[in-house]
Point group: C2
């Protein structure tokens, strides 16, 4: 039956709906990649020039080329069709795309870009795992762990409870939004600290340690929440299953990985052909990502675990230098697509119906900042420590927050206003943290000598 | 109208054909990539261990995991459906794939892999362009040019004429097969010469020069032939248009590129964020690839031209070191897919209907070898030159020959037996050249001192 129905990638039962021509789909993907790379570079450079993290600029540039403004990069999620895409019009004008096949081409191209974007976030989390330090994570000790836990529990509880009681949001979307509030961007935080010469300070060490633990907690929370979003219910036994399975999966893959780690180095040393290091590593990462996805957790959890495993390998430096170009090639597709899919129109204050989304955004931003700043208060037994700086250092949500927003958007659990409010929260916390950190560290002496070697 | 019909990537007019779930499509792509990487590494290493080029092993491993043997990686081209794919069965067993959605998932996954494979060959030709030397290409001079031209004209004419007269093949498929006979693999040839310590010998220089020119000629021939295959006719004015447009395009992009080259280095120096070198280079390559495809040439022609341009850049070494991991990541998808799509069953001599394909394969292999070996005869004014070695050095068709076979398969111009015969010819010439080169160079003294620095 299915054989008869679907012998092409798009419907060809009716003569009026021609198939997408492969060479035109390729043209569409090539043009989309050009738009994505231009947006990511221009946005990233401009953001960097302004003193903000590049990833923020990539996201904003994605918003500009996407559904909210230029309509160069639009996706069928949210109801856009080929007639909304300027890129499809350009293909009709220049690459001989038959207007009859426009929708089919649009859908095929979007499918390919969506998978590329998902592969992008898998590679990103593999790289984050590779850059995280398992030992540092354990050595950062009890203080960092407590800071991380408070920084997860307080914003999560306040955000979820507030959305449910003040805004009357359902349990699943409220938990999703609360989960997005828990993330801390290790990339952004550690980069800013290094730029300020504070990475090796007491405050810096606690922030980085807590951010690393937060990354792991955040991924477990994400796995739990994404799975909840799929079933649409808060099922306590399922929550317990997920917490146990994600912990077992993460700890299990790291333990198994430690064993595999030595074989990996041995295997890689035996290989004589190109890609002898990166291909075995990717095989391992993709297998773990597949298992993560297949047992109803998340593919990124597996990729992160694989990265953490190789972090301990003798070949880590070499592997990292080969993963970075792959990451540069594929990760921008993820960030720009997330921005492009965002409909900022729902935050336009001129439209009365939008005011709920805006109020939610303001609420989320306040919870996001206060919920992390309080974490500084739990640090004990340290004389002259800058508690405010620790709290502020935990503020930026960065790429992890975006992953939550993107997973939420894909799962369909979030309403449009709530999704836009979460993205506003991620953008603003990421925006605010670098200048705020500069301010709160202003009166302390700098430990410049050590900072040069960092990150 | 089209909006109504195609709101999913697969037909959803009928309730019995459910859509492919994005997370399951991702699982399918991840598993396919694991199969591709395992096949490419095991095949490549084994081939290398036997003294053959790794790319040959990747191709053969693709044949093994593909339609001809294990059925792990099958594509809808040639009539395969989801029930032929062991991987889809595995997804049903492990990732909760609904059997009703199997065909939709199979098609979505194949679409993504096909585009990834096409991006793979674009990146490959970009890298080949980057590794080719424009100056060397011009300095190799008149001798290499004549060797290259003879090595294109003789096999092309003999192959096309023979197929049309002896086997009664139509003009378009015969021209396609003839064109596949013209290629010379610069990668394989230069690698083997370097391993034999012959790269800087007189013979070596002529072979490499001719192989470089052959690469360019081959791509022009490919563009001409692929376009002919699309229209299905041999239209002389179209041939002239294509020869002129591909020459103008290639020469034009190189001249424009020389201008852009300086701005490129200047722009890249200004950029402060990650990917400052590789992303602008890929933007340029993808734009040229898009133009190449849009003016009815080939995307790979643009990618090759972009590579040649950057070959002259001050940043070439740095760029190359960043392109190599991307290439390792994506190019195996192309080679393994080409192998996987090949139906070697049509060459089974036990089936009487197959004997035509087998006879054609034998004919093509003879033409492929003789047509290149004669090129040594046209070298003049060189005392004691090993003419046989020059001819033998031009034999391997390698990746360029595979590109012809893959483009032919996609265009639908080639019959199954002819396509399998072409792939057999590519495999055998690639197989034979390394041991043959070793034999013909046996009695000459080695210039080992210089060879170490090469390739």
């Amino acid at each position: 039956m299915t054989n008869l129905i679907a012998i092409g990638i798009v419907p060809n039962l009716l003569a009026t709906a021609p198939e997408a021509e492969p060479s035109v789909v390729l043209c569409g993907v090539l043009l989309s990649l050009v738009v994505i790379y231009l947006a990511s570079k221009i946005g990233g450079e401009f953001s960097n020039w302004l003193g903000f993290p590049p990833v923020l600029g990539e996201l904003v540039a994605g918003v500009i080329v996407g559904y909210s403004a230029l309509h160069l990069l639009v996706f069928p999620e949210g109801g856009a069709s080929s007639s909304d895409s300027l890129l499809i019009k350009f293909l009709e004008a220049t690459a001989g795309l038959d207007p009859e096949a426009a929708q089919a081409t649009f859908l095929a191209q979007s499918e390919v870009l969506s998978v590329l974007s998902e592969l992008g976030v898998i590679i990103l989390l593999f790289e984050v795992g590779l850059e995280s330090n398992l030992k540092e994570l354990l050595e950062a000790g009890i203080q960092a762990t407590i800071v991380a836990c408070v920084g997860v529990v307080v914003p999560f509880a306040a955000g979820t409870f507030g959305l449910m009681t003040i805004f009357g949001i359902g349990a699943v979307p409220a938990i999703f939004a609360g989960a997005a509030l828990t993330a801390t961007s290790i990339g952004i935080t550690s980069k800013v600290l290094s730029e300020l010469g504070r990475l090796s300070s007491k405050e810096g060490q606690i922030i980085v340690g807590a951010a690393v633990i937060d990354d792991v907690l955040g991924i477990i929370v994400l796995a739990v929440v994404a799975s909840l979003a799929k079933t649409g219910e808060v099922d306590v036994s399922n929550v317990i299953y997920l917490i146990i399975s994600s912990t077992v999966f993460l700890v299990g893959s790291i333990l198994l990985g430690k064993f595999f780690n030595k074989s990996f180095v041995a295997i890689s040393d035996q290989l004589k052909t190109r890609g002898e290091l990166v291909i075995p590593a990717l095989i391992f990462a993709f297998i773990l990502a597949y298992i993560g996805a297949a047992i109803h957790l998340e593919a990124i959890l597996g990729a992160f675990a694989a990265g953490l495993v190789f972090d301990e390998s003798d070949k880590r430096k070499e592997l990292e230098s080969q993963v970075i170009p792959i990451s540069d090639f594929i990760v921008p597709i993820f960030f720009v697509s997330v921005g492009a899919k965002t409909n900022l129109g729902v935050l336009n204050p001129a439209v009365p119906a939008n005011r709920e989304g805006l109020t939610m955004a303001v609420f989320l931003i306040v919870v996001a900042i206060v919920g992390k700043v309080v974490t500084g208060a739990v640090v004990w037994g340290q004389a002259n420590i800058n508690r405010l700086a620790i709290g502020v250092g935990m503020i930026p949500r960065g790429e992890v927050g975006l992953v939550f927003a993107a997973v939420g958007a894909t799962s369909g659990a979030l309403s449009e206003p709530l999704q836009a409010a979460i993205i506003m929260m991620v953008i603003l916390t990421t925006f605010l943290a670098p200048p705020l950190l500069r301010v709160v560290f202003k009166d302390d002496p700098v430990d410049a000598a050590k900072s040069e070697t960092a990150v």
